[in-house]
């Protein structure tokens, strides 16, 4: 699905990612953990194609294609979805409008006709239920005045509507109470399938109790310093980042 080789990237001229290698197979869930500032969100944004995140070395191949050839929106239409660590508030643009525009942009890309009003409403109702959000949210401006937890659920709602092939969830669990965490995890799990891969960025083992990963990677100072199975997360929880190696130790201070 996604192959990252020797990825180096700078943000405003400052090197952040320093040689990342990752192989994400079809249907796999990879957790990425690591100290604050280690480059997790940077990696997520490089995958999504954000401007200002300059790749200076290395490659990313997505479904056999050079990812860097695709603009942000093309990556999205090709099935890449980023759930933001800090979802953006957009006054004056309603949630339902964004959902419709986004779903139809994907359909158009695949040569499918726009979803009709009935079909769209049916789909959106179904997905709302999944993340336990009220209809009322559809007509509010995107994320405007949403609580932290509501914003995160809204990201999952969008993901559920768009049915991506590669979902990157950047700290979707932070700021969630225990019930919301279960709801979000539930939403994510319902989307797990043999054709859909996920990168789950988190600081907490707790999320990984609900979304059980196939692999866990530790990122420190822009490099993957350790990879392993789901047990790795438990060990991190018990021993902290300094346990995984000098790089991480240095990063953790």
């Amino acid at each position: 699905m996604l192959t990252i080789k020797n990825l180096h990237a700078t943000v405003v001229g400052k090197p952040i990612l320093k040689g990342i290698n990752l192989e994400i197979g079809d249907g796999e869930v990879h957790a990425i953990m690591g100290p604050n500032g280690s480059g997790k969100s940077t990696l997520a944004n490089v995958i999504a194609g954000r401007e200002g995140y300059e790749v200076t070395e290395g490659t990313i191949t997505y479904k056999g294609k050079n990812l860097f050839d695709l603009a942000v929106e093309e990556r999205a239409r090709e099935g890449i979805f980023l759930a933001f660590q800090y979802p953006v508030e957009i006054p004056g643009v309603s949630n339902i409008y964004l959902l419709k525009a986004a779903v139809n942009a994907g359909r158009k890309h695949r040569g499918e006709p726009d979803l009709d009003a009935m079909g769209f409403l049916k789909l959106v109702r179904e997905k709302l239920k999944l993340v336990e959000m009220r209809d009322e949210f559809l007509h509010r401006s995107i994320n405007e005045g949403f609580s932290g937890g509501e914003k995160k659920r809204n990201e999952i709602l969008q993901m559920a509507m768009l049915e991506p092939t590669l979902a990157v969830l950047d700290e979707t669990d932070s700021g969630l109470d225990i019930d919301a965490l279960k709801i979000v995890a539930n939403g994510v799990n319902s989307l797990r399938s043999a054709e859909r891969s996920m990168i789950v960025v988190t600081h907490y083992q707790r999320l990984l109790d609900y979304i059980v990963p196939d692999y866990v990677h530790v990122l420190a100072q822009g490099k993957v310093v350790k990879s392993g199975g789901k047990e790795l997360a438990h060990e991190l929880e018990a021993h902290g980042y300094s346990w995984v190696g000098d790089d991480a130790k240095a990063a953790a201070g």
Partner: protein, 447 residues
């Protein structure tokens, strides 16, 4: 009869024309005109040396010679009046061409009971007292040269009077049109709207021209809102590409009255709006919304002035501008809370979105408070599109151009949400969308 925008030329024009104006036999009216001409003689036309005209250089207007009685191409006008119709609006229509009321082009045959709506000149001729009681009452004493000019030549325009307790269910649409050509017309409509106690009306003022010729609209509207009365006035400026528009709108409000004024400036080379609301009696509420959508070299200047005279009044003011290319907007919002206006509740905001490096906005919110128990806030922001928001939309599959269109449209569109008439809002939405090139994706976006 032609005139230039200087005192001598205006005085000459007055000497030869004043005898032909309506109601010359009415001494009070002649006196008004003479007084106004004297005021003009004293103040002259404003220059950039005036604090209130610092950012608006009227030399773009004064270099032309204007014609006060330009001839009208009636066939062309009839077609334009027809094509300007907003079908779903279902309004009573009053049509003004070059400042003169045209009954033949208007649609006011069957007016509901309690409503007078028609031409000002006809009203002066048939019932001068009904005009004398109101005209000029809303104008400030220290008005500028343009409003004095309108006053000196006051002749025709619109007269609307809603009797006490009457709710006019259909909107009254006033279409101010221009028939230009070889000469540059000067149109000086005067509009009086009187909403008596407990009455209610929606008035849509549309200044429309597709002309690419030079002309000047110098309009003055006066609005009187009686106790417990309500008015929504939507002023939509779609003037020609070389047109100047100086528009004064003066509103006086009595106890517990409610006025919503939406000023939407879309087209015109130079637009200067002076909007003044006077909350004369307790419990009055005024809402002022504005949208200035500039591109090319357009210049749109909004001067607003709210007087809180009485206690317990509310004012809400939200002005927005979206500026592209080399366009420029000015916002000067003055709120004066007079000494007896305790418990005043006032809020003012001006937000500007600059789409180009060469666009410019000058904003000056100004609060003067002479009472001690008041709640007032004001603020101004100027910025560009939120790039994080553009990125966010793109990560959802929306192309960059559409994402920018959506965000710009959303910014602009939020300025018109107080326009209650759906058909009118839809019309303005379309105009905003077209002007911004916001793309089809913004259709169906409005709340």
């Amino acid at each position: 009869m032609s005139v230039k925008l200087n005192t001598e030329s205006c005085e000459q024009a007055f000497d030869s024309l004043s005898g032909e104006l309506v109601g010359v036999d009415q001494a009070w009216l002649s006196q008004r005109r003479h007084d106004a001409l004297n005021r003009l003689g004293n103040t002259g036309f404003p220059t950039v040396k005036h604090e209130d005209w610092k950012y608006t250089d009227i030399r773009l207007l004064t270099k032309h010679e204007y014609v006060l009685d330009a001839s009208i191409d009636l066939t062309a006008m009839a077609a334009k009046v027809e094509s300007s119709r907003i079908d779903a609006l279902d309004a009573l229509r009053i049509v003004i061409v070059n400042g003169r009321f045209r009954r033949d082009l208007s649609t006011i045959d069957s007016l509901p009971e309690g409503l007078i709506a028609g031409g000002l000149a006809e009203q002066i001729a048939s019932d001068p007292a009904s005009v004398k009681a109101w005209i000029g009452q809303a104008l400030p004493e220290n008005g500028h040269g343009f409003s004095s000019l309108n006053d000196a030549f006051v002749n025709d325009g619109v007269y609307i009077n809603v009797s006490a307790g009457i709710t006019v269910s259909r909107p009254v649409e006033i279409v101010y049109m221009i028939s230009a050509g070889d000469v540059a017309p000067l149109a000086q409509p005067r509009t009086l709207v009187i909403v008596a106690e407990g009455a209610s009306i929606e008035v849509v003022e549309r200044y429309i021209s597709d002309s690419e010729d030079t002309y000047l609209t110098n309009a003055v509207s006066e609005v009187f809102v009686g106790s417990g009365a309500r008015i929504e006035l939507d002023r939509i400026q779609e003037e020609g590409s070389r047109a100047g528009h100086v528009g004064g709108l003066f509103v006086c409000q009595r106890t517990d009255s409610h006025a919503v004024i939406n000023t939407i400036s879309l087209d015109g080379m130079l637009i200067r709006n002076d909007l003044r609301a006077s909350l004369d009696e307790p419990g009055a509420k005024v809402v002022l919304n504005g949208l200035a959508l500039g591109d090319g070299r357009q210049h749109i200047d909004n001067h607003t002035h709210v007087d809180h005279i009485a206690e317990h009044c509310i004012s809400r003011e939200f002005y927005k501008s979206v500026l592209d290319d080399r366009s420029r907007a000015v916002f000067h919002g003055r709120i004066v809370v007079h000494k007896d206006a305790q418990k005043t509740d006032s809020e003012q905001q001006n937000k500007s979105l600059l789409l180009s490096r060469n666009a410019e906005v000058d904003t000056k919110p100004q609060l003067e408070i002479y009472a001690d128990d008041v709640k007032c806030s004001h603020g101004a922001t100027v910025g560009q599109l939120d790039e994080t928001a553009v990125y966010y939309l793109r990560t959802r599959g929306i192309d960059e151009q559409s994402a920018r269109g959506i965000l710009t449209f959303a910014f602009a569109d939020s300025a018109i949400t107080d326009i209650s008439n759906e058909a009118l809002r839809a019309y303005i939405d379309t105009r905003i969308r077209d002007k911004l090139g916001a793309g089809d994706l913004t259709k169906g976006m409005s709340f």
